[in-house]
Amino acid sequence: MKFPIYFDNNATTPVDPRVVEAMLPFLKEKFGNAASRSHAFGWVAEEAVDYAREQVAKLIAATPAEIIFTSGATESNNLAIKGVAHMYGMTQADLFFLDSVARAKKEGRADAESLIPQRFGSVDLAEIAEKGAATVFADRGDHLITLQTEHKATLDSMKRLEKEGFRVTYLKVQPNGLIDLRELEASITKKTILVSIMFANNEIGVLQPIGEIGALCHEKGVLFHTDAVQAAGKVPIDVNALNVDLLSLSGHKMYGPKGVGALYVRRKKPRVRLEAVIDGGGHERGMRSGTLNVPGIVGFGKAAEICQKEMASEAERVNQLRERLFTGLKAELDELFLNGDAERRLPGNLNVSFAYVEGEAMMMAIKDVAVSSGSACTSASLEPSYVLRALGVGDDLAHSSIRFGLGRFSTEEEVDYVVKLVVEKVKKLRDMSPLYEMAKAGIDINSIQWAAH
């Protein structure tokens, strides 16, 4: 067994050696720019990118032309959310502004027309003055819906749009971490332009009912984006069967390299249009300019192909390892709480709270094992995990949470070692915990007047 043991595969995955092999020529002799159309170096690079595009498309049952390569899923989420909002949306402030300009023109202000920024395209001020901007642009919405437990790349993109005047609904989740479909349905209005719900959660691994959400959005005529970073390569994805319009992917979460990802953008029924976030040479059909990261893309493609081929057997194996880990811990420790739904979750993810033991102290105790924690002490903000909070997990248990992320290269031997180590250390830390002593003496911790600090 090699140390340290890596059980943090939800943060990033090691690069599969087969992926490294595939990438190497593109870091050496095949260094061409995929946009160089006039010589062999460029052609070789372009061909490799096209092949990778097919490999990635296949993983999610899309067509190659629907794959836009990006620098990673943070960029993909930004592009999907801001790109849709700017292409299809119009804020109340925009409408008010247009009404004001139309009125000014009617009242004889000569430069009225020149006040209108180009982003509005050609605007008929006389029509707006007559009918009102709200009527003229009735088909443009200003509302987006997402979940409180989304990744920051989604939440912060939404917050940026709120600053611009868009309205965003952040849906609560149920105590098991899953969306309430009735609440989603009730939140969709005529002004809703995009629903963005993650496929699988990065902290607690729960799998959202993407097919049901897709069907609902399709029926209501609202675009549907899903951040599938954690799910892709681990569970089957078919963008057509699931009615997904936009889907974010990341290379390094599926045994590929860092710094490369993709956004799936539906081309038919409906054809989704986006306003670019990064402008430049017009690469990726104008949706994402910038010289393509050819070695990264080649590796990402190879990683997607391996995931697709080995998904079924790997998921079963990793699932068994996860169960072995959880069963082993439960057999020896009391007051152990699973965070997130027990059934609907990613194969390798186990997020548990060891009551009365603080997460960072726990990680320090098992320093030969790489895991992560929802404890405040591990974050710069000193706030415990917002995902666990959204589930209604108390702050004390959020501070006590540990996320184990098993993956392709995890072994049974490692799991058995970790079980033994964690059990020993939790017992030691509980012996050191005044809260555990009080709980064992029958004192209700919540009955004490604690001074917040």
Binding site: V357, A361, M364, L382, D395, H399, M432, P434, L435, W450
Partner: protein, 132 residues
């Protein structure tokens, strides 16, 4: 984040973990912090009639720095007078353990805990004197 060696040393070999009888008239108990904030410290001292701290024990729910801070304080106060314990400043803990800014609150908590323990012992003593 890499941990400072002294923190690791105290964390791995904590001094004076345990419990004193809180109902003992010579024992002072300080319980500070809150579970929701991620750290709770309980520091206890047993004081002789001469005002010397004969024994000190702690239990802490918190990160490595919180555990190390409380361990260090028990080590410092043992054999010292209550006046010495009362005069301890969190900055001394920060310096001894080289706590980074984000962990300074652990030292503040340890200072609060020892002060609360001394205050508890003093209150018991005053109550006894009043009862006589």
């Amino acid at each position: 984040m890499a941990y400072n060696e002294k923190i690791i040393e105290h964390y791995e070999n904590p001094r004076n973990v345990g419990t004193l009888d809180k109902d003992d008239p010579n024992v002072g108990t300080g319980l500070v912090g809150a579970p929701a904030c991620g750290d709770v410290m309980r520091l206890q001292i047993r004081v002789s009639d001469e005002g010397i701290i004969e024994d000190a024990k702690f239990k802490t729910f918190g990160c490595g720095s919180a555990i190390a801070s409380s361990s260090l304080v028990t080590e410092w106060v043992k054999g010292q007078s209550v006046d010495f314990a009362e005069g301890l400043k969190n900055q001394q803990i920060v310096e001894e353990l080289s706590l980074p800014p984000v962990k300074v609150h652990c030292s503040v908590l340890a200072e609060d805990a020892i002060k609360a323990a001394v205050a508890d012992w003093k209150k018991k003593k005053a109550d006894r004197a009043g009862a006589k």
